[in-house]
Assembly symmetry: C2
Homo-oligomer: 155 residues x 2
């Protein structure tokens, strides 16, 4: 509460990608997949900016530091049309409980309404109760009936 006016949400710039990469790594470690998170801040700068940008990023900034972030991009549903996918939403552990996560999520809902996306979608691990509760409190639905399939290259 005491910090409620000291942070702001803004579009990420290249200089944020070091702190964003740290948050990605922290989330992967929490998800017990730390070794799977292979991208560096240089990869994020190369992939997230310029003509062929593969994602967009919002950051929650407090006193010049990135304390939280959301990475997202458009997808397409053959049932619903254009949707927005939230790839990662992370708030630094020490900065939780101040509303940064909710503010980032509400900013994405605003993007959906403004740009006409029919759905906001994401995934959570089935044991990640804090995340599930966070999203449920914001009016979300969860569906456990789909399996993720994949082939990774090079094999």
């Amino acid at each position: 509460m005491s910090n409620s006016m000291e942070w702001s949400i803004r579009k990420a710039v290249k200089e944020d990608m070091g702190q964003v990469a740290s948050l990605i790594k922290a989330l992967a470690e929490y998800e017990k997949e730390g070794d799977e998170a292979e991208l560096t801040s240089e990869d994020l700068i190369k992939d997230g900016f310029g003509d062929r940008a593969a994602f967009e990023c919002l950051v929650a900034e407090e006193k010049g530091d990135v304390q939280g972030m959301a990475i997202f991009y458009p997808r397409y549903s053959t049932w619903k049309g254009r949707t927005l996918y939230l790839e990662d939403l992370v708030v630094k552990e020490s900065e939780r409980g101040k509303g940064l996560g909710k503010a980032l999520f509400m900013a994405l809902i605003e993007v959906c309404r403004k740009e006409g996306y029919r759905r906001l979608e994401w995934q959570v691990l089935d044991w990640n109760e804090p995340a599930i509760k966070f999203y449920e409190a914001l009016g979300s639905q969860f569906d456990s009936s789909w399996l993720n399939g994949r082939i990774t290259f090079p094999e």
Copy 2:
């Protein structure tokens, strides 16, 4: 076997979208979600062609008819970088067992290799055993630990 040389895989054109819309509807009905498939062929033409195309589509054609299709688009993983997502792969029920589905899937693997995507990804319903077996025979891995979260607009 007797039909193995009579079909071909090619990039979809606008004129295919009527048959593609029928295959999307047929898959949604098989998945017991027929009412959720709301898009028309006009929506697919508007969304899948031109500068802001939201997806790509390959079709398996036999004697001038679309007998199967794959719809896909790029995504981004904060662990692996650029990936390719297979939204729908459908072969008309009467045309199964001829290798059309496998040919469409192999064409997507070729797209991944050529364009440098790190992963090919998709989802299947956990009770859809024929699909799971089809993908497993092609070397895929499945992961059941993620829940799909969503908010649909307007609420």
